[in-house]
């Protein structure tokens, strides 16, 4: 009996030692490391995806479907639902072009159009343009730790660095401690006004990585609207031909 107790004690001590070895680095992680962990988890070299965008405004609900090819800096999105079929977007680093199928014309999205809701959604064109590393744009710090939907999270605050061009002055992110996935984010104006809120509804493990497959964006300046973005299929690291992200491919 004493022997059993001895083993138990050793087991408990060892498990405490091991768990402290695992937890200690997490406790000592800086805000920047946490953001980078999240980015490493959520970003990929190339991906091919099919998705749905459900735009809800009051009792009105519009579903748009799309296919997208993306690499680290560039994306090509084609809408496939009946109403928008053939509408395409090309994002090349900091530039965005749109192909209008009715006019069969390629227009560079610039100026005021960048602030408009993309295809009537709560995502602005500027939102989809953000490709720089967040840690290059914002100074992050951990402001608290709390549970969100029973998941322990780090809560990080990012303040825009002086001189950089960003859409939102301040962002508050809830990042799950276990898997380093962003579960919720609030985006603020410099005045402190909440502008947008995004929340993840569903996370799935696909090809060995955790992917937020269902998320909701709410434009807090609009009443009774939100946009749900659902990834229906995703393949990581497909071969994408070099000429894919070109204006000729928009036509």
């Amino acid at each position: 009996m004493r022997k059993v107790k001895g083993f138990l004690l050793i087991g408990i001590i060892m498990s405490i030692l091991f768990s402290s070895l695992i937890i200690a680095p997490a406790l000592e992680m800086t805000a920047e490391e946490i953001i980078n962990m999240r980015d490493n988890n959520e970003y990929f070299n190339t991906a091919q995806m099919e998705a749905e965008m459900i735009i809800v405004s009051g009792s009105r609900k519009i579903t748009k479907t799309m296919i997208a090819l993306t690499d680290k800096k560039n994306s090509l999105v084609e809408f496939t639902n009946s109403q928008d079929r053939g509408t395409k977007f090309l994002k090349r680093e900091d530039d965005l072009w749109m192909f209008f199928p009715d006019a069969e014309d390629i227009i560079k999205i610039s100026g005021h159009m960048l602030n408009q809701g993309m295809m009537g959604s709560d995502f602005s064109y500027q939102d989809v343009m953000e490709s720089d590393k967040l840690t290059d744009l914002y100074d992050f710090k951990i402001i608290k730790e709390e549970d969100l939907d029973d998941r322990p999270c780090y809560v990080l605050e990012g303040i825009a660095r002086e001189g950089v061009k960003v859409s939102y002055y301040r962002r508050v992110s809830w990042i799950e401690k276990e898997r380093f996935i962003g579960l919720k984010e609030e985006l603020y104006a410099q005045s402190g006004r909440l502008l947008k809120e995004t929340k993840v509804n569903k996370i799935e493990e696909i090809e060995g990585r955790w992917v937020p497959t269902d998320s909701v964006m709410e434009d807090k300046l609009k009443k009774d609207t939100y946009t749900e973005f659902i990834i229906t299929q995703i393949n990581f690291n497909p071969e994408i031909p070099e000429e894919t992200f070109s204006l000729q491919n928009l036509r």
């Binding site: 009946s82 100026g111 005045s191 070109s246």
Partner: protein, 270 residues
Amino acid sequence: MKKYFSIITLTMMSILLFATTTIFAKVEIGGELNMTLSGVLFRESESLAYPQGSLDLELYIPPFDNNQIKSAIYLYTNPTTGKLDFMFKKLYLKHKFDKLQLTVGRQPISWSFGSMLNPVDFTLGSVVMDEEAGSKYQNAIEAYYPLNWNSSIAAIAAFPNGFENMKWGIRGRTTLEGYDLTLNYVREPEENSVETMIPVSQRIGFSAKGDLGPFGVYGVIGYNFEDINSGDFSFLAGGDYSYYFESGSKIYFQLEYLSIKEERLSSLLG
């Protein structure tokens, strides 16, 4: 009885409908139906109602073997005759060769770039204040040759009045430092009718569009040839900006300055 009266035009009904139906295999037909009933109420008199309808109908045929067939027809009640009329917007075949895209048939041609007016468009007045005109749709052959991911040359031969008089143009497009740049040339044929005789006209134009801080900016410089030795310049400079109030309201500004020879303005306005 007093002669004056007031007219109130009311748009009573507007129906927008978009639907698609699969005909066979993956071929689909879809469109947008727009019906409007406008009423005119005369004081101390009877009222009149004007029903108007239009239907944009498109046949969707999936691309096959680097070919794409597009067909779109616009059916509408002619406001002058009150009868049903139609216009083909698209009826063309596009083939994508390795280094060339060739489009043959009825197709929309516009060199718009987001401005309200474009004095160097392929067809002047094809897009005015975001409204497109029927002149945009042309029987034409277009050859599009990409040079790299953001640069291309497009050559167009159009036949607006039959095959005798060919109108042609060439357009180069590229991106530099985030600015969308185009250089284009158009040659319009001589037009002879009972009332008028319009000589051959040529124009060359350069346009640029991009961002300057939070402002969208664009501009055009064009030159219209009268003959070999003379001509006139046209300029367009524009910008846009939107400001969002935290109440959710927004103000959107778009300002354009146009300098053009007076007699060219009517064609530019469609």
